[in-house]
Symmetry: C2
Subunit: 320 residues, 2 copies
Amino acid sequence: MYYIGIDVGGMSIKGGLTDGDGKLLYTDTVVTAGAYTEEHTISEDIHKLTAKLIEGAGIDEKELKGIGIGQAGSIDSERGIIRYWNNIPMENVHVREEMAKYHKAPVFIDNDANVAALGEYRFGSGKGYDNLIFVTLGTGVGSGIIIDGKIFRGVEGAGAEAGHMVIMAGGERCNCGRRGCWEAYASASALIRQTKAAIAAHPESAMARIAEEAGEVNGITAFKAAKEGDEAAKAVVDKYIDYVGEGLVSLANIFRPRAFLIGGGISKEGEYLTAPLQHKLDTENFGSKFNPEVVVKPAILRNDAGILGAVALAMQGTDN
Amino acid sequence: MYYIGIDVGGMSIKGGLTDGDGKLLYTDTVVTAGAYTEEHTISEDIHKLTAKLIEGAGIDEKELKGIGIGQAGSIDSERGIIRYWNNIPMENVHVREEMAKYHKAPVFIDNDANVAALGEYRFGSGKGYDNLIFVTLGTGVGSGIIIDGKIFRGVEGAGAEAGHMVIMAGGERCNCGRRGCWEAYASASALIRQTKAAIAAHPESAMARIAEEAGEVNGITAFKAAKEGDEAAKAVVDKYIDYVGEGLVSLANIFRPRAFLIGGGISKEGEYLTAPLQHKLDTENFGSKFNPEVVVKPAILRNDAGILGAVALAMQGTDN
């Protein structure tokens, strides 16, 4: 019994074929078209990849039990439709239906953060936590919520957008149009903005030197300088982690999961990031001592998160 | 077939007995003891009331199918235990077990906001909305969350505390110990504090006069003055409604329910409160036009909300 997991990105589509235990047997990639039309939808390119995977792994297609697809944008997972995506613009693409032309195996599609959450729950650092929230700190702040072992999506799959919970009413403008969203404070993009402001205020800091040497300010600039003992950088990092923590404590009070899993590039900071977050949760949680603990851990699937999450989606969809 | 609903408050315990459709046949009240002990727990007083209800309604106890109890504090609904309550201090009261000494009918207990949400869903303004969030604007901000027709509680019933979602990081101190919680801005207590501050700044305002005539500042002072056209009061009300809305939009993005039901004394303001909230939701929701609408309505069960919610809890527990 085999499964395929597909991870659709803006530049390329990555895929992997696994056995029934989620062990990757073969992976491959195809580039996306710059634009798609009603005649040439993304399903065609996804099929190019599934065909390569089946051929590459050398399996009999009859033994392919399910195909999972993780993809950003607004997804109607119940009907298997990409409602819209703004990265490579598309609307109302009936992926499940279109893929049925190519494969007998059922196709499941879901939002990338949901899929990554399910993957961490099944194969990663979320194992054993039936109730968890996966938070990815990247360009934005994505969230995937697992309740009793299942993805929580909200009505028509339009929920689980915790990045657009306000933590600072009237604060920084967010891409969604609101002011003060968690994403506007806790994303890697926000950290870069915060780092740039601190560099402008402290041009003599180690942080400024590190940025100059690297030729850019990125998500690790402040962390690197802080670890060298730079005070200006420490202030940036402390404040940033506190913003991340504000959202986590709120979500703990709302959902009371067993665990938070932190993904995205910044999660590579490991304990340097998670230890203060754990402290904040332990001390600021509602009814702290009386209520069950919520653990913070880095996500661990990294580059394979999208593929393995999509495999987990296919497995859950086919009751494995 | 009959049900009993019990609504435990700090001063008194209210109860009602209904038929299988939730029609109230008899209601009564007992006062709570000022303190309870391990020997004399609240179960004894709850039983005083259930006995009065059965006698008053003149039913045969064999036809009593279930007893529901709604109560503030931390409740372990699965095991039927009051974990702790700070109002009349108690810890680890095994209500279900204790009540089994008196009645054969099964006993269900849950947090008051959860119970109220279920009551509005079954008998009130939430009818037909399988996914809804009940928000009560009172001394605090309580929330009850219904997902697919069932109460969402979080791990060990410790979730659904949306009042302790931060909307203003580092802002007003909340009773829970955090700063900037929604409750610290959107509760009736917060509104009273905001009204008092505005009266101090505008002693000449109609709002100041209304407060003086009433001999106090309460949750309707600013609303009343705003409706008379008082500018200072309008500013208070607009700002307050905006705080309420900040939390609602965040919860819409996180849960994407079909409806918000607003309860508590302030919900008596009706459309004056809900119309601007609806506008804010419609315009600030994530992916507004593309995503399903979330409706804001006042809760309607009012004084009977606790009793009827507890009846709904008993009905759901006994699969009616």
